[in-house]
Symmetry: C2
Subunit: 304 residues, 2 copies
């Protein structure tokens, strides 16, 4: 199977790098790092063991890339529109596009742009960030859940899982809606609150007021999932996420890093879309809507 990786940051660089390392045919689309990677290769510092890929199939333009069986999209969703240009050269009849992205609603948008393409969601549970040109720093975790969205042949999803397993990655096949909304349980409180309160996960849980606020927000996601008929997004899962976060190293979610480094935040797919979808189903995520409103204010203030 031939792989393409679009968006070679902490996430795309790690999963693509792990596949390339075991000899899979992986083609990476680089942006500003292209020249650097040609010369120095792709370096992954990982808690599971550092490695360097001296020669990777590196491209500067999607138009130069070959058609692929699997496209791993690990772009920030703030650049989602770019897929309209970047995907077509890579697609053949049976390409599976895996959107390893945050939030809710990305598959629906991409499917609208490419009605016939087979899509799956990738939910990465990983702490990994770009450390420099062609250089990924993978700190901890690393498992990925794949949820089939519109792939008519489930064996194509299984084949990707097999390759990920072969590369030493913990990967599981999960129900699409459940996977997206379960991830939202953690993502929605922590991404925005670490930004608005300029803090990290551990501090939010150490203070009784924000510990309650985080749980209130997680329960709003549960309420939304319930209204949408998505199963297994429930109070026990909320308690599991709270307990998991309590034992995590103090953590700055991706939105906090984006804000601190003056990059655009993924407000649209992490907040606006799920809030709108829940509202259509009759559930009002009041506190998460307020967080969205605060983030939109901070984003504009930041741009000034």
């Amino acid at each position: 199977m031939r792989y393409a990786v679009i968006g070679v940051g902490g996430v795309g660089g790690y999963y693509g790098g792990k596949l390339a390392r075991i000899g899979k045919d992986v083609h990476f689309l680089f942006h500003s790092d292209y020249e650097y990677v040609l010369e120095h290769g792709l370096r992954v510092d990982s808690c599971d063991g550092d490695f360097l890929l001296p020669h990777v199939n590196a491209y500067e333009r999607a138009a130069d890339m070959p058609q692929c069986d699997v496209v791993l999209v690990a772009l920030k969703t703030v650049n989602e529109q770019l897929l309209k240009e970047l995907l077509p050269p890579l697609l053949k009849d049976d390409t599976l596009v895996v959107l390893i992205q945050n939030g809710v609603g990305v598959e629906q948008d991409v499917q609208q742009w490419f009605p016939d393409v087979a899509l799956a969601a990738g939910l990465a549970f990983i702490c990994s960030a770009k450390a420099g040109p062609g250089h990924v720093n993978h700190q901890c975790y690393g498992s990925i859940n794949i949820g089939n969205f519109s792939c008519p042949d489930p064996r194509r999803v299984d084949a990707v899982l097999d390759d990920l397993h072969a590369a030493g990655i913990e990967a599981a096949n999960v129900e699409y809606h459940e996977a997206r909304w379960k991830k939202a349980v953690w993502n929605m409180p922590f991404n925005g609150l670490t930004v608005t309160l300029d803090t990290q996960t551990d501090q939010l849980l150490a203070n009784p007021a924000t510990e309650r606020l985080v749980r209130d927000m997680m329960m709003e996601v549960v309420g939304a999932a319930r209204a949408l008929g998505v199963p297994h997004v429930d109070e026990p899962f909320v308690e599991k996420m709270m307990a998991m976060t309590r034992v995590m190293t103090p953590y700055s979610p991706s939105m906090k890093l984006d804000f601190d480094f003056h990059r655009p935040m993924e407000i649209e797919y992490i907040y606006s879309r799920p809030i709108a979808i829940a509202r259509q189903a009759g559930f009002h995520m009041a506190k998460l809507e307020m967080l969205e409103q605060q983030l939109r204010f901070l984003m504009k203030k930041e741009l000034k």
Copy 2:
């Protein structure tokens, strides 16, 4: 009529100073400014005309003050407990205590400590702050609404209004609950949001996301007032407050100043109390509760 002023900051210094200026018998309780005022008097720089009171009845301890007909309390509510010590020396059988303070619930607490005392609420619409020792800077506005809470003889309230009018202050007699909750319509969104988003009133209304958030929060106060049966706190009043704020000079509410100057914030009476009262009446102020949770986090963070 003999007046006492407890809490001689931007508010107490202004109203007390205006009364003393026209020859009313006003007795001021000072804290750190006592020595300075003895020597230099009390200075009020005001948009209505500056004035200096070279000799005021200044005290350092409440125990040294005479019994008074009217006590104007302009303490920050974070110091509410002090009233247990400060009020008794000033009280006689028919003393009227006017609580010129922010929030909801202060009269209920003070009444519990002093079951027989006649209380009224004072709602000041004023931009005024302490500029230095014995020095008040009154920037604009200045009207005050008085709402009778437990004064058996309404003429005692009218007498205070007469004196305020004589001193050149716009003052009105208003229904107690309506007055407190109407003030909450403005206070609850703007005090906390200017803190959590580090901004001023004009910026909150200039951004569409926070303009909606401010209105959402005002409507939560309307919902609470409705659940409590408080009249005239309605959508037209919300629109009036929005319009009024839009034409105001960019403004930092008192809580923002308190936060910026590392002073305790009046979270208890401006947020926790009205939110709890509304909840008991069956109305959940979700976004304002979230603001309270964020403020409690910031307060603790600040203290570190």
